[in-house]
């Protein structure tokens, strides 16, 4: 078999296939429910209710999507320039650390928010800068360095939380002091967890889109990513572009951690991120590295997870079904999206 590009796919194809992917996921859900001794025909309803069935559910989905948008953007930007940043997790925590440093009394005025946001981006950028300099100067593979930095950063955070940054009022539990009021991102709807970090994420997506499409830097970034040799020959300062890309990518990932702390948790703990950095890679690739698409895929991923997780409780089946369904939905969806662009032919 081989794949043949479709010049202009029909609307039916472009809508039908993704729907089919969702359908397949629901079928998987039903089968799993059956295996676990629950009612297979209830699951669809339970998932939908859990993901978007109520104002609460919907906002929870968006809330979980927020960090994914940031990490997704971070990865999308880096991968565009063929900079394999697998370290969004580490950069995320760098941002979170700054949010705490700045938010626990370093500054006592509303401007602490923008300031700490910027510093957070700087910190995240710094974390990625190392691997990128190693890549450009010594040709050290960044996949490995960024990957390993994730582990190092987590241990560093654990050290901070059990040492210098430990909350004296925390009864010995390893977590940071809570942020002061000024340093918190307000909530969008009182009583529900969704905070302005989400709005910020949307803005970030638009900004990244504009940078990529409308600025010379964006052009350089895409050129370097598509053909390094040609870019260099054309006089594009390749290494500078890689470094700038890294700064942007690291900064975006850092915002994920920053907004989780400033918007959601109000303090830093070791388990701030259940792998948002890694899921960001999925989100970005699912969106074909398109910044606007990232928003959609992030919400999709969050929705599937929140929905199936809620379903696991409604149907009383092991909670691990949520991750199974997320993974299935994901794989079905990438396949479906591919088949909207190509058709399978023999030979």
């Amino acid at each position: 078999m081989r794949l043949e590009p479709i010049a202009n796919a029909s609307l039916a194809r472009r809508l039908g296939l993704p729907l089919a992917a969702l359908g397949a996921t629901v079928i998987v859900a039903g089968v799993l429910a059956l295996i676990a001794g629950a009612n297979p025909f209830a699951v669809l309803g339970q998932i939908v209710t859990g993901a978007v069935g109520s104002k609460f559910a919907l906002l929870e989905t968006l809330n979980r999507a927020t960090p994914l948008i940031f990490t997704g953007l971070a990865v999308a930007v880096a991968f565009k320039a063929k900079l394999w940043n697998i370290g969004a997790e580490a950069q995320l925590y760098a941002g979170a650390i700054i949010a705490v440093l700045m938010g626990t009394g370093a500054m006592e005025s509303p401007i602490v928010l923008p300031v700490s946001a910027l510093l957070a981006m700087a910190a995240g950028a710094l974390v990625l800068l190392g691997p990128v300099l190693l890549k450009t100067r010594l040709g050290v593979d960044e996949v490995v360095t960024t990957l390993l930095l994730n582990f190092i950063m987590l241990l560093f955070v654990s050290y901070l939380l059990e040492g210098p940054m430990k909350d004296p009022m925390g009864m010995g539990w390893p977590k940071s002091e809570p942020l002061i009021k000024d340093a918190r991102l307000p909530r969008i709807v009182e009583g529900l967890r969704l905070h302005w970090g989400f709005a910020l994420a949307l803005i970030a997506a638009v900004v990244v889109y504009i940078i990529e499409r409308r600025t010379t830097f964006g052009f350089e970034m895409r050129a370097v990513g598509s053909n390094l040799g040609a870019a260099r020959f054309a006089g594009i300062p390749v290494n500078r572009v890689l470094v700038q890309t890294a700064l942007l990518s690291g900064g975006l990932a850092a915002l994920a951690g920053w907004s989780e702390v400033a918007g959601l948790k109000g303090h830093l703990s070791q388990d701030l991120s259940p792998g948002f950095g890694y899921t960001g890679i999925i989100v970005a690739m699912l969106a074909l590295l398109n910044p606007i698409g990232v928003v959609g895929t992030a919400i999709f991923v969050a929705g599937i997870f929140v929905g199936s997780d809620a379903m696991s409780r409604a149907a009383v089946v092991p909670t691990y079904i949520a991750d199974m369904l997320l993974a299935s939905a994901l794989l079905f969806m990438v396949l479906a999206l591919l088949l909207t662009r190509v058709r399978v032919v023999r030979g």
Binding site: M171, G172, W173
Partner: protein, 308 residues
């Protein structure tokens, strides 16, 4: 018991095999078997999702929610105040707050009493006086027991030396095992088994181990001398009675883990019956009595234990 079983939900941030959580889970299963509650649970919940899960259960009409909010205090307490008719019994490092959350009672594994007694045995059983302790993370729930244990050891072995290591994970038995091996090489002849994997190392190298929170002697008959057990039943039953009596209110249920309330105990010596010197057992009996009648209290120290 009331006719109607209470609708109860457990929310745990780790899989229910984790020793600490397993005690809550087993107590709940027991209550369910006794028809007192109608119990469902969710495990391995990330703290990010904790508040959401609490809410979902509340919306499902749960009457009692049990869990651990060490990593999500603030958000969790908000949810509590949003559902005043639901009773919350949550593991927390913070005191209850009558004003803000009249429906939130807190607890923790205050089993220092038993740990202390197990320490006394350890001190008596070690020859080299060199004792190893392998922990997951140095959190209060872990430190508290280690410190009490060390205090106990010093009763019978004032010159005891301790080697403490944390492996930075709740679930990496191979790593815990390797760490234990390293300690044994370094001359340790008795291990305090806070993590899975430690007793296995002790067993392989033929030295002794002291169990913790759960009784694992069945798996290591010739290795685990004694274990400091945590019994969650008193805590849970107290809550259930309160609810049935319509009297559930903010309170610190920590005391229900104390020995005098049957919240913890020293596991029966079992296979080691008679292998522990009689005078030591006598000492333990006397200490136990003292603890129970309140004439002696084991200090609660949540600080991170260090090697000596």
């Amino acid at each position: 018991w009331a006719a109607e079983p209470i609708k109860m939900a457990g929310i745990y941030t780790v899989p229910v095999e984790q020793q600490w959580v397993s005690r809550i889970h087993l107590a709940a299963e027991a209550a369910k078997a006794a028809g007192a509650v109608d119990y469902v649970y969710t495990e391995n919940v990330a703290n990010t999702d904790y508040a959401r899960v609490m809410r979902e259960y509340c919306e499902q009409g749960m009457q009692l929610i049990v869990g651990e909010i060490f990593g999500a205090e603030q958000e969790a307490r908000e949810v509590c105040s949003e559902y005043p008719n639901v009773a919350f019994l949550l593991g927390s490092s913070f005191p209850p707050d009558e004003a803000a959350n009249p429906n939130l009672a807190v607890f923790d594994n205050y089993v220092q009493d038993a740990s202390y007694l197990s320490g006394i045995i350890a001190g008596a059983m070690t020859k080299s006086g060199n004792i190893g302790m392998v922990g997951g993370f140095p959190i209060p729930e872990v430190n508290r027991l280690m410190n009490a244990f060390m205090a106990g050891v010093r009763e019978t072995r004032p010159d005891a030396k301790f080697q403490v290591s944390f492996i930075g994970s709740w679930f990496d038995p191979p790593k815990a095992k390797e760490t234990a091996f390293a300690m044994i090489e370094a001359g340790v002849d008795l291990l305090y088994a806070e993590r899975f994997g430690v007793s296995d190392a002790a067993k392989e190298k033929g030295i002794l181990a002291i169990g913790n929170v759960i009784d694992s002697q069945a798996d290591y008959p010739d290795t685990v001398v004694a274990s400091a057990l945590w019994h969650f039943e008193p805590t849970l039953n107290a809550a259930i009675e309160a609810i049935n009596g319509g009297a559930f209110k903010a309170a610190d249920y920590g005391v229900y883990s104390f020995m005098k309330n049957g919240g913890c105990s020293l596991a029966p010596l079992g296979t080691f019956e008679g292998k522990v010197p009689a005078e030591v057992m006598a000492k333990i009996a006397e200490k136990e009595a003292a603890i129970k009648d309140g004439s002696f209290t084991v200090a609660i120290d949540d600080g991170e234990p260090k090697s000596s």
